[in-house]
Symmetry: C2
Subunit: 341 residues, 2 copies
């Protein structure tokens, strides 16, 4: 039985769900893969940091986190100031990067992943920022250090998007895609279909933790655009920045327009599209009127759907319903296990 050590940056909802998942799957990992994991380092933004080479007691870490305490008390060694030094000192096999996404720069996640690869550790991340701001550089670093950098959960949480093409669909050339990739706006429109005002819909989405305090990243289409850019960059081989996406958010969608669509048997959706032609990608995020004959019509609540056009499969759709921190955590675990294959 081989034990692999993990360093976690971030111990929020996803980090905690990951800790619970590896605990729940411990027997299956041992039986099927003959391996076990121990988390030897956790760094949080404002709830302390710990390193314990024998493995941090995750039950205790979860308790401390639930009580809003500091993880410092779990550390068995003094903790360095800089996060790069922390990553190096963790001496882990894997880093799991869960810092908050930064649409403009991709930092500090890029710095974390660089430090990881420089220390000969594999990097796994749910963060979209590094993909659209530093994909080529990070993949080059990974190749150089003979380690891997995977990021399944960056788009559609744990649903297999990057891995399905990487692991299961050899020689498939993606010509384009369309989809609904932003849960928050999809939920907001649905609330307005059911009679809420824009403000009521946002208040509801914030209450259930789907919308941020400042929801403009979702509402103005930035989150959808960064996902389109990530898919294009990784799967279609042409680096794209969120700024390259022709982007329009949902601010002009009035409850009146939304009700009118429903009466006509249609629904407004924030639709993402990308199309490759002549070595260039044309990408767009904009509200569209979707008829009931479209697979996008029945993408409800926080579900997502992306349909790829490829040269071998003309229409391959991946649908994810009921996403949660648990599904994102599974994407992180799947990345680790796919690296170990």
């Amino acid at each position: 039985m081989k034990n692999y050590s993990i360093c976690m940056i971030g111990f929020g909802n996803v980090g905690r769900a990951f800790a619970k998942l590896i605990n729940r799957k411990a027997k299956q990992l041992s039986d099927e893969f003959n391996l076990s994991f121990s988390v030897v380092a956790i760094a949080t933004g404002s709830h302390g940091r710990a390193i314990n080479y024998s493995g941090i007691n995750l039950k205790k870490a979860l308790e401390i986190s639930a009580e809003n305490g500091s993880l410092d008390e779990l550390s068995t060694i003094p903790i360095p100031e800089s996060i790069q030094d922390f990553i190096a000192l963790s001496k882990a096999n894997f880093l799991i990067e869960n810092s908050p996404v930064n649409y403009e720069t991709g930092e500090p996640a890029i710095t974390h992943i660089k430090a990881t690869l420089a220390n000969n550790m594999h990097a796994v991340s749910a963060n979209k920022g590094p993909i659209v701001h530093a994909y080529e550089e990070l993949i080059a670093l990974a190749l150089e250090s003979e380690k891997q950098f995977l990021f399944e959960s960056a788009v559609m949480d744990g649903a297999p998007i990057f891995s399905v093409f990487r692991e299961a669909l050899p020689v498939a050339d993606i010509k384009g895609f369309e989809g609904i990739l932003n849960s928050c706006t999809n939920l907001l429109i649905e609330k307005m279909e059911k009679g809420s005002t824009f403000e009521e819909a946002i208040a509801h989405a914030q209450l259930i933790g789907i919308a941020e305090t400042d929801p403009s990243g979702d509402i103005d289409g930035w989150d959808a655009s960064i996902k389109v850019a990530a898919l294009a960059t990784v799967l279609m081989g042409i680096p794209l920045k969120p700024q390259d996406v022709d982007r329009k958010g949902i601010r002009d969608l009035t409850p009146h327009l939304i009700q009118k669509a429903i009466q006509d048997g249609k629904r407004w959706k924030l639709v993402c599209t990308a199309e490759k032609s002549g070595g260039k990608i044309t990408a767009k995020v904009a509200p569209q009127l979707v008829p009931s004959s479209s697979p996008l019509f029945s993408v409800n609540g926080t579900s997502s759907l992306v349909i790829f056009k490829t040269d071998v499969l003309p229409g391959l759709g991946i649908l994810e319903s009921d996403p949660s921190p648990e599904t994102t955590a599974y994407g992180l675990l799947a990345d680790i296990l796919n690296i170990l294959k």
Copy 2:
């Protein structure tokens, strides 16, 4: 550059599409995988058989097939009577099994695959029969001979169903699924929604090659049931026969019922479901009234959709639109390349 040889059983629409696909992808296979394929043997039911260890001229084989001629003339050696001897004599690395599906016994495909594995060749098949009638036996034989038996195209053509769980989603436990898996009945219902009678709908489906001369395998839910059984057997680890599926076809769906559903904003669909509980699988194929809020609602024409419930992803859907012999052929090629990984 490594060359791999292929023996093909069957040279119908799918076999011919496969021959064209490996030709179209030759440069990409050489560039990305450093490999090439040559088809060294083809056996058909009534259009002859050929073996040529230097590689059969596929352009000629396609011409002969288009003219309804016999492939015998392409053989450079005498051809044995028995198909087992033919397979052995092919000395190929891979067998591609494309004989017609037999719902009751899975033969002769099972015999072909056994002969393949016994001769230390990998077996790849688009045939559902062997999965539901001999899966455990064939996998045991494959293990014994240290070769592989893959069958991605057996359900939903080349869409990644088996491979996505095998290659991309480690430790995901499937608790159940629902879906639309039979293209023919889905198309028939759609034609009736648009005003056709049952008979007119069948005539249309036969004209475009979707329905057989005797369409009862589709209409009575056998094709859907065999697919449900294949998914349960392979992905949920509990062998299921088509006879174990609680099966109801679409014969009771009158144009009146179908029109009434449309007026109510709903659609009749032949829905497949499977649920695991207490080590047993309860599986069903039956017409269901589907509301527009369901992802099954917008599965049009010959498209398919299956949504898996797993312990790590509560709702993961795979959608395939516009299936064709080309998408089935891609599934065969994907299997071969996944074996070679």
